[in-house]
Symmetry: C2
Subunit: 367 residues, 2 copies
């Protein structure tokens, strides 16, 4: 099947667990957490072999849009859409589907978070090529699943049934974040994958799934899409987008579709065995980066100069300072111009609570 | 006995264990670690009821002298002596003894570190008044001992014999820093005090002890003292002081004197039960300050704003920043313009090793 691939990159999140580095106008995806390029730059760069830059879409918000455009100079302004109000993933990719359905009958869309790392780019591209082929072949939905390596309670899971083509399984159902007992059971049973949040489908399939399962939202998106490329687009977007249902692809489209049964649903899971990491916290960034560089003491310290003694597995970020780490382990310290975070590898997932507090106290300069 | 009391304050140390706050030109005694006044300002203030400001001597070095004078505006320039080269405590107080011996036959000198805290100032003054009386009464040396509260291996110990007047004991001998087993034994036996480094004696007694036990140094100090108040003083000091023996009062004067036997030596130990703390590290500062203010979680955080969650017994100093401490305990983090220290309460005594490293690497801006 002929397929024109369009990556849709979701870049509206805040990534509050990377506070104090991540801020409202400089969210996680706009930070160079791992290498010289920012997360969104890496996301675009690794997809460029599959689509020319003119086919990319980025969905973000008004706070972040200027910096997104600055970081992605090859994208035209109209390719970077600012949601007037975050409505979760279903309307975000749905809008692209309605815009493209009318313009390119061969359009296959891929939904990608903008803040994940992929260790093996070649393998990533190979899996995507396979997925694009499946998506182009009919009314299929393709989801990339990650083989679980631990009983993680922070992710959604995909339960799969029969193995279909080479690297793919038919999806039985999506499961919300489980408790620890369930997660351990999933791990034991073996036919469960983590939901990576990456999906593939044709514009046609996605638009008809929206019309079937979220008809009100589909109608609003069709109206907005009709004005794309005209001078009315911005106003129509602002007027109608906020009326869309605030719902994810998983709940709004996949769950009702999978209710049709494993065979009829035509949802396929591809194994994403390409070194995926969603960098959920300072701790997972630390783990990801030490796995690559394997420093002998497990410390990852950025400073103008460094001294460490009897210290291990610490993450310290203070690039403008001389950093000394003495007799301490498993600590995370991150410094910016106006803030200092002190936490532990074990509890770094609670960093988002700081941002919640700062929001509540209207300490807007700090978020 | 008539006694004119002259406090001699030793302010030549670096206090490297308070890096990165303490620096070559801003040593520990010049920092406001506990309250608004700096350590040396507190040292002077608490002694003022016993001596007018004109009777104070401060012995420091050329790096620190300008800041000492700035912090102690009531002292005349000649009262603040810069050692051309650090020669430990015996020459430092010995010089004052030789200068005063000729000028005031009633002079009693007290030797005081400039970087300790005293919790109970009234009790401190009462103990000193008693000590000054003993020192003025004859060829006596008075040392202030601290009742040990733990088997500390970081201090020298004073072994005492017979109880002499009310609050005093005759000293048997001084003991160097013990190992843990010895320290536990000292604690058990009960007739051991910690050496606080505070001594009292008449100028006459001290000068004759120097002449007896350190004759070469005594002769050099006498020559320097002869030029005090003349335009030659600075040059003579520079020329001769470095030739003095590099030796402490304890080793150079007390140890040989105590060899005469408990009765003949006339060394007396007064119990310094006035809430003494030498603030040997960030950890002891933390302990001292939380003992006073008893915050419920034991955190001591200075920041422009503070958020803490599931965090206890941490010391964080970043007064210009919003500080967030999440899910971490017993950590010490200190930030300055150019440096960031991350250590633990348990290992903060190793902070001095950072300064040693910086010295070796000639990273002079950081020390």
């Amino acid at each position: 099947m002929a397929a024109d691939f369009y990556p849709v990159i979701l870049a509206g999140g805040r990534g509050t667990r990377f506070w104090p580095l991540s801020r409202r106008k400089r969210a996680k995806q706009l930070l160079a957490l791992d290498g010289k390029q920012t997360m969104i730059q890496q996301t675009v760069a690794r997809l460029l072999p599959l689509a020319p830059s003119g086919r990319f879409w980025v969905v973000t918000n008004a706070d972040l849009r200027p910096e997104v455009l600055r970081q992605l100079p090859r994208l035209r302004a109209e390719q970077v859409i600012a949601e007037p109000l975050g409505r979760n993933t279903a309307p975000a990719i749905g809008l692209a589907a309605f815009i493209l359905k009318a313009r390119d009958p061969n359009a296959v869309l891929g939904l990608f978070p903008s803040d994940h790392v992929i260790g093996d780019r070649e393998r990533f591209l190979a899996v995507l090529r396979e997925g694009i082929e499946i998506a182009a072949a009919g009314e299929n939905i393709v989801v990339l699943g990650i083989q679980p390596s631990r009983a993680e309670t922070g992710y959604g899971y995909i339960e799969v049934g029969a193995r279909s083509p080479a690297n793919a399984w038919r999806v039985r159902r999506f499961t919300e974040k489980p408790n620890l007992e369930q997660a351990a059971e999933f791990l034991r049973r073996g036919n469960f994958f983590w939901n990576s949040g990456m999906f593939l489908w044709s514009a046609r399939t996605l638009a008809s799934a929206l019309t079937e399962h979220l008809p009100k939202t589909a109608s609003l998106l069709a109206q907005i899409a009709a004005d794309f490329g005209t001078k009315h687009f911005a106003a129509t977007l602002r007027r109608l987008y906020g009326k869309c249902e605030n719902i994810s692809v998983d709940y709004g489209l996949i769950e009702p579709r999978s209710a049709k049964g494993e065979q009829a649903a035509n949802i396929f899971c591809l194994r994403g065995d390409f070194g995926w990491n969603d960098l959920g916290s300072w701790t997972s960034l630390h783990e990801h980066r030490t796995a690559k560089s394997t420093p002998p003491d497990g410390n990852l310290i950025s400073g103008r100069g460094i001294f460490s003694l009897n210290a291990s597995r610490n993450y310290v970020h203070a690039p403008e300072k001389f950093v000394a780490v003495v007799g301490v382990s498993d600590v995370v310290v991150v410094e910016t111009d106006d803030a200092l975070l002190v936490t532990s590898r074990e509890n770094a997932q609670d960093v988002g609570k700081i941002v919640k507090y700062l929001d509540e106290k209207n300490l807007t300069k700090l978020v």
